[in-house]
Symmetry: C2
Subunit: 457 residues, 2 copies
């Protein structure tokens, strides 16, 4: 081990290596509520792809399990290291290498945070439109989890916005995939395969992302509904309307109460409306042209009324921003309220009413709570699960995941499987498919050094 420590230090420099007791607690976990902390033997902070390659070669030689870490804001325990392992933190690889306005692409190192990239692109009037709730998240982490967020209903998730990678294979090669082009048909798409692989296939050392123009005009509508089902039935209609909202979120009444209280939100909804509300729909619209935006706001308001909203509030800029921020912090609110887990099942949009009815039934039967909000436009339901007993909770989650899969959905829409949900994943997925995933893992990582506890064992 002493030898390994010395060689690690040679690769990244002594000041960029933390070993043993010098490893701070923060590196022992991500934000998963259920995956316990585990301190790695070493934290290495490389500065280049070559250093990452050297780290992987050393790890392979010494059978050292390796976990990649961006900002550790993930919710599935996929950045939780092995106790005896090596954590590779990308915090020093945080340069924005290029904002290419002609091709509308940014090239960045993986450790760049979303907040940093947002600032760097703002000047050019462009944006990387993947906005998960946590802007301290890194672009490398977005690749790892195939991150989504609120704007995905219009702009797609990480998968649709990442066009090229530089990656280090566990077998040592540094490869490039994709590029600044929006389409390629020249061999298997490794970019897409690495996206969402949660650090199990390759380590990403450079990312090319699509940029979109920032539109000058935006509005946010808040529509309370007496009935959660109605909200869910409204969603496909709004999508079909062609209004192309850039936000289409639902927030159930308990979650709205909690986030409003926490964030001291006051949205101008009268008490009697609030009391008769089971869920809210938040609709974001944007346009490059102010008149067109006004027309769309008008039309959206009418449509929401037709779809059963008890009222429609067009929020002023300040309230809108606060509401969106509060929604982004819903995870912290759930955590503070004592949620035992937070999950993000995705189902076909039109299946949400049935799926949520089933969830209520399952939660009631288990004497558990399941409240939430979600990226309704994507069919992505975020649920805070309140159920203290681990065994009962495991059974409840199993049933909820199974219910999602039964209507054509998946266990996770954007948070990933990680360590938190791998038992469910392996139990519920087709074994023939899991066997194929394992063979693909083997094709990338024959020695099994990358995140060996994630997705499956």
């Amino acid at each position: 081990m002493g030898d390994v420590t010395g060689r690690l230090a040679e690769i990244v420099g002594e000041r960029n290596l933390l070993s043993g007791d010098a490893v701070p607690d923060d590196y022992a976990h991500d934000e998963s509520l259920t995956v316990g902390a585990a301190k790695p033997a070493h934290v290495a902070k490389p500065a280049t792809a070559e250093e990452v390659a050297a780290l992987l070669a050393l790890a392979a030689e010494n059978d050292l399990p390796v976990t990649a870490r961006g900002s550790g804001s993930g919710l599935s325990g996929a950045a939780r290291p092995r106790e005896n392992g090596l954590l590779i933190s990308f915090e020093r690889m945080n340069a924005v290498l290029e904002i290419d306005t002609a091709n509308q692409v940014a090239v960045v190192q993986p450790g760049v945070t979303l907040a940093e990239l947002d600032e760097a692109t703002a000047e050019a009037g462009l944006a990387y439109t993947v906005y998960p709730g946590e802007l301290s998240a890194s672009v490398g982490g977005n690749v790892g989890t195939n991150a989504g967020g609120m704007r995905a209903v219009k702009y797609g998730v990480a998968r649709h916005n990442i066009v090229g990678l530089q990656a280090v294979l566990p077998t040592g090669e540094i490869i490039r995939t994709g590029g600044k082009t929006s389409k390629i048909s020249s061999g298997y798409d490794l970019t897409q395969l690495i996206i969402g692989s949660e650090g199990t296939l390759a380590l990403v050392t450079e990312v090319s992302v699509k940029l979109h123009p920032r539109l000058a005009h935006a509005a946010t509508l808040l529509a309370p509904f007496g009935d959660l089902d109605q909200v869910m039935r409204a969603v496909p209609e709004i999508i079909a309307s062609g209004l192309t909202p850039n936000i289409l979120e639902y927030i159930d009444n308990l979650t709205m109460a909690a986030i409003s209280y926490n964030e001291k939100l006051s949205l101008g909804v009268p008490d009697e409306v609030r009391d008769a509300t089971q869920a809210y729909l938040v609709v974001g619209l944007e346009n490059r042209d102010g008149d067109r935006l006004d027309g769309d706001v008008q039309r959206a308001g009418e449509l929401l009324g037709e779809l059963g909203a008890s009222d429609v509030y067009v929020l002023d800029g300040g309230s809108a921003r606060k509401l969106i921020e509060a929604r982004e912090k819903a995870f912290w609110t759930a955590k503070a309220a004592g949620a035992d887990d937070v999950i993000d099942v995705v189902v076909p949009r039109a299946e949400m009413p049935g799926f949520l009815a089933k969830v209520r039934e399952l939660a009631a039967a288990a004497e558990a709570g399941a409240i939430g909000c979600g990226h309704a436009g994507d069919g992505n339901v975020h649920l805070g699960i309140f159920c203290k007993d681990p065994e009962k909770r495991h059974a409840l989650l199993h049933d909820i995941f199974a219910a999602g899969i039964a209507v054509g959905g998946a266990i996770s829409g954007e948070h990933g499987i990680g360590q938190a949900k791998k038992d469910h994943f392996v139990a519920l997925e087709d074994p023939g498919k899991v066997a194929l995933l394992r063979r693909i893992k083997q094709a990338f990582d024959p020695k099994g050094i990358l995140n060996p506890d994630v997705l499956f064992d």
Copy 2:
């Protein structure tokens, strides 16, 4: 062999099996100009995924190379069978299984043609927006090649519009990937891996595709430019303008002359303008609202003027349709004009001027012709190559592909590598990456029965 024939007939029924001399010539090739015909020993036409699985099991047992065929309209020889092999034609699996308007997804069998699907979705006011030039192409073929086409500049290519698959693995399992949801983060994305794999990883037996609303109002602008460079420099500006054209094609003057002549097109461009034109830009706009469309047409016209167009013609519906159809037939025009190959290099949009200058230089040095058109908005350049000598042509193509790769592009944007370009692919790609692709191939197809001559040997 007699035994194999009997067992094949048992699987698909005698009338759905053609063997030996009974195999018509048409099954021996696709539309590639350079990959010669080869008659397979058998053509089987299965009706179900189970039959496909049984065919693959039999093929694996007998080391019979298997090629999948949709409509055979591919341009890379990827559906050209092995002489002694089994061609699986999906022509009988041609049902539209479901038009799900609530989720805006269609579920189809792979043999459905784009024309058939277009008709089936029209009634619901929706469309599968992947429109390669040849509408006799099948959806399964679109999956195989990651097809693009003119609308990709707005709607993306097959990869962005295919959300779920049922596929038969060469190891015999029938799996489902993805679904009717637009995002999933639950294991490696097999949908994306199979898309663009040119029949080498798995056979697709069902496809779920995204549908988009058909917008009521559309217009087509034709802008002649005195200079090809100017056209190419205009492209990123039009993309950046936020007008989101649904068509953004360039057509060089020779190609325009040829397709106009062939299709008896008359577009109202005066002789003196035509004679001073080096290339044309075709800009398609669409909107759900007629007034907004008018505003966009106005703005696009002004912008094209600023960008150097010598004039701008707003085509009437009939001329517009004819021009688009003629553009779609550019391949046939090139073929009829004696082109020796047609290629489709993709480069970052803003690199097109430099790349095309390099192509002119290379073609001149080789005393060859290289004329074309292309999906300019995507950086996808379609070139008809006129160079009779196979060795000289091989060298010229090598240099053109290398020039594309050097500016961050790839050999093919949408036609694929197939058999036609695999030598170039293997010669020009990073060997470490090709080795990884081979290991992935191995993970799917350990016996190497699926399209063993495609992509690499």
